[in-house]
Symmetry: C2
Subunit: 341 residues, 2 copies
């Protein structure tokens, strides 16, 4: 069976209506719509075809039809009209991001909040991670007699810091000297190169061996970037407004997934692609079987990227979500790049 223009048109009308109402769409509803010049009976025939083709489902005989995951896929790929974000919304984003907080965590949190507020879905934003980080500077700042803060400044301007033990009695100037030494030998190296070099370096330094092993620990930890990347979620409660989640048990298990950093991580893993739309079963988390996830990336410099995701019901307003994400991606990129360059 061929799928002709009229079928596309009807399918689009059904999806548009269902996105708005969440109520199965009947033939009369479509027929009444302006621009459709056919009677309910004709629509019914087409709908029957579309069902056979797998684009529509019927909850029960005497209800209307609802779009299948396959239909949403088609919708996102072909039918949907991409729009630009209107001026009011862009202003709103700028307003919320313009507080020069400079701290990545804070920006990420703000972004998650604004995204969820504007879409009325749930938003997840991850902090930036670099593919190829090289070290620019290592510095030790004394904190107590026996502990110092190790700060790693990277080529991308990103920072990692961690408290590590140092030999008692080391004073600020000594630590500064050591920092200079470390910086000189480490500058320009990637984290893993640095880690290796530090192994040799440490044995030479003798007395500082303990210190070095602490530094290595930190590097190891940072190499496993996932665990240390900030991850902010906004609008957890939003989804509960939709009839899809009128069942508390469903809502509960949905929220439980949001509490797992690990699962959120897989959700955001964007394969480096700029935009990703995953619909219902395409996400391999059973609790999200009737959710869709749209992700987008933002960039700082050449090779530092972060990901933002919007989680909503499969019948989400894809066009709006994508335009919001698109604009937000640029906004965050600008904001964070500006601070670091």
């Amino acid at each position: 069976m061929k799928i002709d223009d009229r079928k596309y048109m009807i399918l689009q009308a059904i999806i548009d209506d269902y996105i708005m109402t969440a109520v199965p769409v009947g033939s009369r509803t479509i027929s009444r719509k302006s621009g459709v010049g056919f009677s309910p009976a004709t629509i019914r025939n087409e709908m029957s075809d579309l069902e056979e083709l797998g684009y529509l489902d019927q909850p029960h005989t005497s209800a209307g039809r609802i779009p299948s995951a396959k239909a949403y896929r088609l919708y996102v790929d072909q039918l949907m009209k991409h729009t630009e974000l209107n001026e009011e919304d862009t202003r709103r984003i700028q307003e919320h991001l313009n507080k020069r907080t400079a701290q990545v965590e804070e920006v990420i949190r703000q972004a998650a909040m604004v995204l969820s507020d504007m879409t009325r879905y749930t938003a997840v934003v991850s902090g930036p991670t670099a593919k190829e980080i090289t070290i620019k500077r290592l510095q030790l700042v004394p904190v107590t007699d026996s502990a110092a803060l190790l700060i790693i400044v990277t080529s991308t301007g990103m920072l990692k810091e961690k408290l590590i033990p140092v030999p008692e009695g080391a004073d600020a100037d000594q630590l500064y000297g050591l920092s200079k030494l470390l910086t000189e030998s480490m500058a320009g190296k990637s984290l893993s190169e640095a880690r290796e070099q530090l192994g040799n370096f440490g044995t030479k330094l003798g007395q500082h061996r303990e210190l070095m092993s602490s530094v290595i620990d930190v590097l190891d930890n940072q190499l496993d970037g996932d665990a240390s990347t900030p991850l902010m979620v906004g609008g957890r409660s939003n989804l509960l407004s939709y009839p899809e989640y009128s069942d508390v048990e469903k809502a509960r298990s949905f929220l439980a997934v949001l509490e797992s950093r690990e699962k959120l991580g897989t959700l955001l893993r964007g394969n480096g692609v700029e935009f990703t739309v995953r619909i219902g079963p395409e996400i391999d988390i059973p609790e999200f079987a009737d959710c869709s996830v749209v992700t987008a990336s933002y960039h700082i410099g050449k090779d530092t990227t972060g990901t933002m995701g919007i989680i909503g019901p499969t019948r989400m307003d894809y066009a709006r979500v994508m335009s919001v994400l698109n604009y937000m991606g640029k906004a965050i990129s600008d904001l964070l790049s500006g601070d670091r360059e």
Copy 2:
């Protein structure tokens, strides 16, 4: 009307039962309990009295009774048996906290997760804040040509750091020199004293005026400690398992409150008291009218404290919650103090 021992006993039995089942308790149920030697009829008379005294409510004529907020208050203050945490649970806490992460944020997050897991309620944990912070050291670490990280090391070993702009071309050694200068003149001062002094100091330094005003900005920001304290929530989804939240709208507005840092802050504000129990209407957040909040403090050194809170239904298992919080308070105090001394 006097409230005698038997009334206390019956009230306790009713509360204990209701905490377990969330179902209105009838006279027969109490009568059947071992240790109660009275017929349902006698119990009924006592229950009728307790209702008149305001300790029991009746959802409708032919249902059992449920404890009122007043009853829970009495329960917490007098009736409840305080218990020690059993060995298995203490081991579990130690296990989860023992990963020497050293980073406050991570410890706080872990604590929130363990607390919520162990109680099956929702947990909120705030980072430590000091009443009387004095500055021990200020240090600038170059990050890019025109930005540096300002690190404030305080008397309590706590750290605040923030990225600030610096004049272009300032190299690492210059910044280190400046750091030494700043540290010398600021050491031992409180944040607000430092802020004031910096005003004068800055005008003298001429060329560094801009830099100084950035430093002042940071201090101002840190003085308003609330905004910068980390705040972690665990087990958001837990409460949805309870019949109290079988209504989605209720669940939604509950979760919405959890998304507001501000409201969470007021929830935790413990007035410096070691333990706080607030029951239903005693919390002045309408969405929490049938919740209770139990908070406890942990301590680092003499004057640095943080707060942990458990949010559950009013019929929560207060005895368990308090014993878990009690132990966790000690555990966190030990963990964080150990790292910093």
